[in-house]
Symmetry: C2
Subunit: 329 residues, 2 copies
Amino acid sequence: MDDHQQPPSTMTSDNTLPIAIIHRLPRFKLPSPWAKDIFNPIEPSDPLYPIHRPSARIIIIIGPSPLKSEHLDHYPSVECVFGTSAGVDHIDLAECRRRNIRVTSAGSAFSEDGADYAIGLLMDVLRRVSAADRFVRAGLWPVKGDYPLGNKFGGKRVGIVGLGNIGTLVAKRLEAFGCTIAYTSRTKKSQVPYAFYPSVIDLATTSDSLIVCCALSDRTHHIINRDVMTALGKKGVIVNIGRGALVDEKELVKFLVGGELGGAGLDVFENEPEVPKELFVLDNVVLSPHKAILTPESFDNVRDVVMANVMAFFSNKPLVSEIDLSDLS
Amino acid sequence: MDDHQQPPSTMTSDNTLPIAIIHRLPRFKLPSPWAKDIFNPIEPSDPLYPIHRPSARIIIIIGPSPLKSEHLDHYPSVECVFGTSAGVDHIDLAECRRRNIRVTSAGSAFSEDGADYAIGLLMDVLRRVSAADRFVRAGLWPVKGDYPLGNKFGGKRVGIVGLGNIGTLVAKRLEAFGCTIAYTSRTKKSQVPYAFYPSVIDLATTSDSLIVCCALSDRTHHIINRDVMTALGKKGVIVNIGRGALVDEKELVKFLVGGELGGAGLDVFENEPEVPKELFVLDNVVLSPHKAILTPESFDNVRDVVMANVMAFFSNKPLVSEIDLSDLS
């Protein structure tokens, strides 16, 4: 990505704010307040859009709105695409590379919240927090007496699938609970004290629970498949805060309904917002509407990251959270 | 407690197992397996109970079954009472002291689980895990769209009320989430890096959330009162895993219903198993049926602690988790 067109070193050449095309599905709303003193956001519905479309140099994608080749065709001058999600699987990266368009993600803006939530989901499944809350709200405590015991969280063996920004923070948290941590990822990380397993199945075999927090790609699609679930075993718990398609959902439902897995904490699903209804009746499952990384505080963080990236772009400085497109498989 | 009658240095003088009176409410069941090779458990329903009652030297209390003066009247030879709960507020300690009866608790057997659960409840309230699970199970995700955001957990200011076995482990966990930790307790702990506030109100004023995990006594009854809730403020969250009566429950309900508190995660209540029904409709509240410290693993731990105490008692060695009765206020 060294051959992209160099932008001028000032924000704009004519003392007006640079144009940023806002690309979003209707359900992903523009954050408010948005830093309008740094760029001028233009949506396709804007009367000025036809004027600015041909010359716009940057696109800001709100949430995981898909950005495909046919979208890019509308923007012949675009040089950089700024994502506001932790993942970039909604962006056609190969097409961006082909067109010499740079891409940024939200970087680590969401990482703390994602890691926090992963711990929350695992705790909730093991200790049955949500299920016990249902039990109390249904008025069953005085009627049925003690709620069935859950399982201990502290000291358990937890396997992390994907030791990136979020996975690393998950591990840090698990350490404080006395958990034994292992991980799988494309390559062994140096300076990481946790056991590395190149094979997810081997990781599952030696873990009580798996936390899935890797990026979705062709390589990681259904990385948690039937064989991994079998290796994890009847008491094993799967937490997924990555993307739905990292887990073979049909198999997962079969394993859970058949009692072949201990439980699951799922923030993401293969066909969101659809969730397999078979899971609605299970007390060893916690279901969450793709919100692991979403707090008011993380929205502030991501806005800061986007602003920093935009300012770096127009100042011809290194981008804060650029995706390495030379690495596409 | 130096003047109690010294037991013989062998387990029993006649090579039979020592008798242990089992004292329990019917709803607290005898754990199974129980180490019958160490003592001979006798319940009042046992045909041999009348024979052993006058000479029994130890009582084992199952769960928080109340042990009062009138119970002790039945056991003129009792020297030591072994609790199986983390707290000992169900035992008439003053009466035990008067009769020169030693008392043990479950010590730290439950501490890890208690600390884990406290983190789980706080996470659940802040990030709305249980409420979001209800939202998904009700089929509302495809209908209503995004679930309202919760609040960030990591990095927040958390005040710990009672820095004992559990509180210390809570603090250790919170550190990994980047939280700022402060505490109140009867006295400042040396070698603890957290800010100490002698006053609960001052602690509440400088905290985003409070985790209540102190013992219940006359001194701590309703330690979380109206003034503390006011000091904590509209966004403040209270987690209680100690005893229900540590919190003024009527005031808490008023504050929550009136939107004067951010939320609450409650494992304990003033009139268990009754839970104020006003709370059943609140999404910023997580309700749990007094199970913070209960896992199969912690039951194993507590059995080990009781056994160690019993063996120490009959071997005339220091008890593992003796309560200091000289400290009664």
